[in-house]
Symmetry: C2
Subunit: 519 residues, 2 copies
């Protein structure tokens, strides 16, 4: 008898512990830190609580959770379609780069050497002092160390060497979806992680012009993708020499602006000239029989785009997703008391689901009985589901549902009749609205300044992009960076040439460039 | 003047070198080694010459070329659809596994320790003795070594620990598309490579029954995929204890038979019991409040399937692809002399292309002028394009085209009118024919034997699967392996229990099992 009591109090005790764990996990009742309070904390909390990603047991490496990965898959699918539509094919190259190949292109090697994970051994063995442990087997030391790819130019150009003999073999237009590793000292989920996922395009051309054209084509493709698919406005431009990809002659980029006034580089497309062809001795026979070095480009976007997505659109209630990227576009929540009401509502909900699925809208019906509607509302807001339909018994009598939009938090009653058209229209509006809203914010945060006082006070008080004249020297760039932490994000392509004086040195300048603090 | 001559002879010399290189590359005029001559060489040549994959500068790692990768993408797409349709979601876990996690599940660690690539350092630095070289920076030694994942149970179960508190958190049904590394001493393209691509599913369940059901569901899914999508007949079965996945309680598998009479394990689905839950202390609260260890499965198929595909269907002319997997399903080749004829033919060809594309058939028109039709015929045969359409000027007059089928090498004239239906029908027939052909071969190569003499002579003279009674002991299994190189491929699920005597020991046995030499 006593034992039984003990057991039952033991069970109750455990139930309590578990309830606490669940509540802690779901952070029930706890609001997200607001952006104005602490932007950085808001971001970190949002990523974890919206179930996008989390830190792993491996320093600097993240786990991308199913909900976050589903968003990344949507990006992949769209980009892949765009790459293929412009004549690119996918392939796969080794994860490892032998050190001797890695060091062949000097600038590239120098640029990445400090952040390389290095494989030195190919076997573990049982620890002779503790048979439950493993140690690195000293007899299995590699003759040549292998670098875990931080980027694949070296291994790929060493391969292209065998693929290219004549102009007939060109162009090669290959893309790879892969993981890469760059050892990060201050990692942050999605923004800077030791391992990240990306695509890297590597193309080979017979002329400088063709390679340059490819570099620009891809930068345009990235801008198109960011703006029209992700609803993130970007500025296209060129990097200054110090911000260029190590080994590139010119780096084109798309730069986005986050809500805290800091810029984020969202994609880069590099014109590599003949640097890698020379490093790996890749020549081709022209039509006239001459031997020439091949021209190259490389370009990539990564899971960093997840960070850009979050920080462009989201708010204090959580994630806000453009409908294009939402794994669940519409959620239906029944408001009921008692199972009879639930049955009636479910019939209507299932009819709606069928209609929406038929027109390609992804929809979820959440009829879980162990969570209250209010809890569900908060949860789907946190996860950025674009549209929420709530259905109560009275709504059914009135042949309406309540439709709530995540971006504006607007609610309205909508007739059941014609609902799927209404939803399609709302999703389209939302996609456009998110872009317009972000564009307005971005444009409101581009400030033209004409002297260094204006520069510093804008950086401190307003943030955002600062459009300023620059004398084109590395020294000035460094001095400004040191004094303000702002760097040149890009030399915008669309900026008109305009004579002026460098905001820092007073020396002549031909064009304004964009400065900002950056992620 | 002399210089000019020198230059021009230099150019001619180079043109010759390049021509040789191109010819060598294309192996013009050189037939593939036949299967009967040297099966293994036939395979290696085919993989390279059909542009599927090649060896890289990294020992044991391959480059998957665009044509090979396009086939892999088709497998991925179909499998991914099947996984999602059965309730699985994709996610992504780190490439690296800290050594202390890796060693937590003892059997698993022991199984993979001997083939692990190990990261020990996170930085390179300039060689003080040669500034053009890099060396591993001894100051950047990791406190704990990182294993490049050979499989991800350890890192994933260490993560699941934080995801699972209650039965409400279960099941977790996650899949990951990733690269893994297992150091191979005798690598072969697609079949055994140090790095390979795969998908690995990792699920967590609240009951033993549910986990077992998942293990079987996936094995059925794999069999369905292999047979109905890849046209590869497979036998479903259980692995003997010695062939089981390290850390599994039961391994289900699908086994295919290659044309040389050797078996190939095409996919495995593991019931992991509570082994990983215990190793990583993953418990959940049941409905009644008890704490129990979680039940697990894991399952995977890899780029090894490319090897199975090649060795099931291909012939002495090259690759043979089931239409489902062909990046190009139909190729159109114009037979013409003079550009007038080409123009006329091209008009017809483009009309056909449009019709085929409209019904979802992938088609290529090869009107390259610098290659003869015969060369093109051979090249597309080598690459396994299922259907070839040849169009000459007389065909156009007669309103027909010549249609050639890659599997049977049959040619026939087909009316232009109704061509796309005819092609659709031929593709369907071919998909079915390839499966039937492979099934007949496989069934013709299952031999029931009742004593060890029959066993050894069958292995030597015929190969294939040997159905024999086995006493269930490890000792017998090892002895048979030692004497014949045949291993137990599986204990077939569909085999009826049947009393008998072990073919080796004479001891009692309850079921026949399948032996074979294997890849």
């Amino acid at each position: 008898m006593k034992d039984k009591q003990k057991n039952s109090s033991f069970v109750l005790h455990y139930i309590q512990i578990i309830r606490n764990k669940i509540c802690a996990k779901l952070n029930v009742g706890k609001k997200l830190t607001s952006r104005s309070e602490d932007y950085s904390r808001w971001y970190n909390e949002l990523v974890v609580r919206a179930d996008l990603a989390e830190n792993s047991a491996v320093r600097g490496c993240m786990v991308i959770k199913p909900y976050g990965y589903a968003i990344w898959e949507k990006m992949q699918l769209e980009l892949d379609k765009m790459f293929k539509a412009t004549g690119h094919q996918n392939a796969y190259f080794p994860l490892f780069v032998p050190k001797s190949l890695f060091e062949a292109e000097e600038k590239n090697a120098e640029g990445f050497a400090k952040e390389c994970a290095v494989v030195t051994h190919y076997r573990l063995k049982t620890d002779p002092e503790d048979s439950s442990k493993l140690i690195v087997d000293p007899d299995a030391k590699l003759e040549e160390e292998l670098v875990v790819r931080p980027t694949s130019e070296a291994i790929i150009w060493n391969t292209y060497k065998n693929w290219i003999q004549s102009y007939r073999d060109l162009p090669i237009m290959v893309n790879q979806w892969a993981n890469v590793v760059r050892w990060e000292m201050r990692p942050r989920l999605f923004l800077r992680t030791a391992e990240f996922l990306w695509q890297e395009g590597h193309t080979a051309h017979s002329t400088r012009e063709e390679a340059l054209q490819e570099t620009k084509l891809i930068n345009n493709l990235y801008a198109d993708f960011a703006e029209n698919f992700m609803a993130i406005p970007v500025i296209q431009g060129l990097k200054s020499e110090s911000e260029r990809f190590a080994g590139a002659e010119e780096t084109y980029c798309i730069e986005a602006l986050m809500q805290d006034g800091k810029a984020l580089q969202a994609g880069t497309s590099h014109f590599l000239g003949q640097n890698f062809a020379k490093a790996f001795d890749v020549k081709f026979a022209t039509k006239s029989g001459d031997l020439e070095y091949v021209w190259a480009t490389s370009w990539g976007v990564s899971t960093r785009l997840m960070g850009a997505l979050i920080m462009t659109h989201s708010d204090d209630n959580g994630l806000v997703l453009p409908p294009n990227l939402a794994p669940i576009q519409v959620v239906i929540i029944p408001i009921y008391s008692g199972s009879d009401q639930l049955v009636t509502i479910s019939l209507v909900a299932k009819k709606i689901m069928k209609e929406l699925s038929a027109v390609g809208i992804s929809v979820k019906y959440d009829d879980r009985d162990n969570f209250k509607p209010g809890f569900k509302f908060n949860d789907y807001e946190l996860k950025g589901v674009p549209l929420r339909i709530a259905i109560g018994p009275r709504d059914i009598d009135n042949k309406v549902v309540e439709l709530a939009r995540r971006d504006t938090m607007e609610k309205k009653l909508v007739a059941l009749d014609g609902l799927s058209q209404q939803i399609q229209a709302s999703l389209n509006e939302m996609q456009i609205n998110l872009f317009s809203r972000a564009l307005k914010f971005r444009d409101d945060h581009i400030t033209e300044v004409n002297n260094f006082d204006e520069f510093t006070s804008t950086i401190i008080k307003k943030g955002g992009f600062i459009s300023a004249h620059w004398d084109g020297t590395f020294e000035t760039e460094e001095a400004i960076k040191k004094e303000t932490k702002a760097t040149i994000r890009c030399i915008p392509l669309k900026e008109n040439p305009q004579k002026g004086k460098c905001v820092y040195s007073g020396k002549p300048s031909n064009q304004r460039v964009l400065f900002s603090k950056a992620y």
